[in-house]
């Protein structure tokens, strides 16, 4: 009997949850640009805090953290979720900064035509091929390995330095 009650509540919750989601449906992406600033906390110690880049001072040479959050607001699972983020204009991708839990991360050096792991990327300069540097990357691609259940959320991020 006790188990039955629990199950009923779970069913009710399931029924209740999709209501707002159905209005939107699908996957929702949000991007945030942030910078790290050193601030003094109440104990007078230095603390690194992330603040919205639009509300901070950003000048050439500063690294900026770009975070892309995703959420499946649909009633059905979403699969083959692939997030593509061009490295923003006026910035250089910061080597080894891309993160994404449960995602395969690859990069492009040809404007998003092809993607590969960093060690496989080459660029041609002055008629010679050389391994690609982080500053050659034009796009970052995250391939989420598992289907996203309804209501599932996650985020991917990378850092780039303002040129």
């Amino acid at each position: 009997m006790k188990g039955m009650t629990a199950l009923s509540i779970a069913v009710l919750l399931l029924l209740a949850a999709p209501a707002p989601a159905q209005q939107q449906g699908g996957i929702v992406l949000t991007s945030v640009s942030e910078v790290e600033t050193a601030v003094q906390n109440s104990e007078g110690k230095k603390e690194v805090k992330r603040v919205d880049a639009a509300k901070a001072k950003v000048v050439p040479g500063d690294p900026v953290i770009f975070t892309v959050s995703y959420a499946n607001t649909d009633t059905k699972p979403a699969d083959r979720v692939v997030i593509i983020n061009p490295v923003p204009q006026h910035t250089n991708y910061l080597d080894k900064s891309a993160e994404g839990k449960g995602a395969a991360i690859e990069f492009s050096v040809d404007g998003g035509k092809t993607y590969a792991a960093p060690e496989k990327l080459v660029v041609t300069a002055d008629g010679k091929q050389r391994p690609a540097a982080a500053s050659d990357y034009t796009h970052i691609r995250w391939t989420i390995s598992k289907p996203l259940a309804p209501g599932a959320k996650g985020s991917v991020s990378f850092r780039a330095v303002l040129k």
């Binding site: 929702v28 945030v32 640009s33 001072k57 000048v59 050439p60 083959r80 061009p86």
Partner: protein
């Protein structure tokens, strides 16, 4: 169409070196990040979704003042120049308020100290160079741009060899198109473009890092060459003695040395033959080597450049040069 593409390629190639040296993304540029997601639901590809965020690039104020040349001066010399370069390392056009500061601890002060822009990059003051009067004189200096400057002054007379006058050239960043010093935005971000100082500390007293100013110092060093001339005479009479009688030989020995840190250029020694004597032909020697009496390729002559005088050109001499010895004979009439 093909032609247009070729021109474009050439233009890009020409631009490339400038871009490589670029200091940064211009102030006020909006940087936007956009991510796009593709996915399927129930095996059906869905419309791609995206999310964006961004920020405005703020103004970076950074500059360097570098000294490219000091000056070696002689007392009384006018318009002596120290050479400086002021470079805008920020991401926006700026002007500069220039101040020349005399060090208190140096040994003397120059007179009539001014700042000029070295318009022909000669490193010395020329007729075409522009005198600095205020931040507006040279107008805006673009990001990556630089000002070649001369600190010009006159050397007072009477300064000893080695005396040094030290000057700091201090450049303070001034707003583009104006005359007011740039102020760093303090406190939280504003809606507009903020100003951030990133300049290093300079040589001038009180020029600290991140104050929108930078400085470097240059030194005027007095360098003098003093030419010392010694003269000795020996009398050799016909009997092997040293009596100054008619017919006796007078052997003159002139010794030239230079002291001080400078270089004496175009040193010429002239010595008239004494009255009542006659030059003994073929006796003029410089450092043990005979010089012909005629004015020709060798360094000296007797009675040709100037009648009745020995003339010897010694060229440029410094304290390191060996003593120059000139010897000649005359007979007592």
């Amino acid at each position: 169409m093909k032609r247009t593409l070729t021109y474009l390629a050439i233009t890009l190639a020409l631009l490339a070196p400038g871009r490589a040296a670029a200091v940064g993304t211009p102030s006020g540029t909006v940087v936007t990040n956009t991510a796009t997601a593709n996915y399927q639901i129930g095996g059906m590809p869905q419309t791609a979704v995206s999310g964006s965020s961004g920020f405005t690039v703020d103004t970076k104020v950074n500059l360097t003042v570098t000294r490219n040349a000091d000056a070696t001066v002689t007392p009384g010399a006018a318009n002596q120049a120290l050479v400086f370069l002021v470079t805008n390392l920020g991401n926006a056009p700026q002007r500069y308020d220039l101040t020349v500061v005399s060090r208190l601890t140096d040994s003397f002060d120059m007179n009539n100290v001014r700042v000029y822009r070295d318009d022909n990059a000669s490193g010395v003051l020329d007729a075409g160079d522009t005198l600095y009067a205020g931040p507006a004189t040279f107008g805006d200096i673009a990001a990556d741009g630089a000002l070649r400057l001369l600190v010009v002054a006159d050397t007072p007379s009477g300064q000893p060899d080695g005396a040094a006058a030290v000057y700091d050239l201090l450049a303070a960043t001034v707003v583009s198109g104006g005359t007011a010093t740039v102020v760093q935005t303090t406190g939280p971000n504003t809606a507009g473009v903020d100003v951030v100082f990133t300049d290093p500390a300079g040589s001038a007293a009180g020029d600290s890092a991140r104050d929108g100013r930078h400085s470097a110092f240059g030194t005027y060093t007095v360098s003098i060459a003093v030419v010392n001339l010694g003269k000795a005479v020996a009398v050799i009479d016909q009997l092997g003695g040293s009596n100054a009688v008619a017919g006796a030989t007078l052997r003159y020995t002139l010794t030239v040395t230079v002291s001080g840190s400078g270089t004496a250029n175009s040193v010429v020694v002239r010595d008239p033959f004494p009255a009542n004597t006659t030059y003994a032909a073929g006796t003029l020697h410089l450092n043990g080597t005979m010089l012909t009496d005629a004015a020709d390729a060798d360094a000296g002559d007797a009675g040709f450049t100037l009648p009745g005088e020995v003339t010897v050109n010694l060229g440029s001499l410094t304290a390191a040069s060996p003593a120059q010895t000139i010897v000649f004979d005359v007979w007592i009439d």
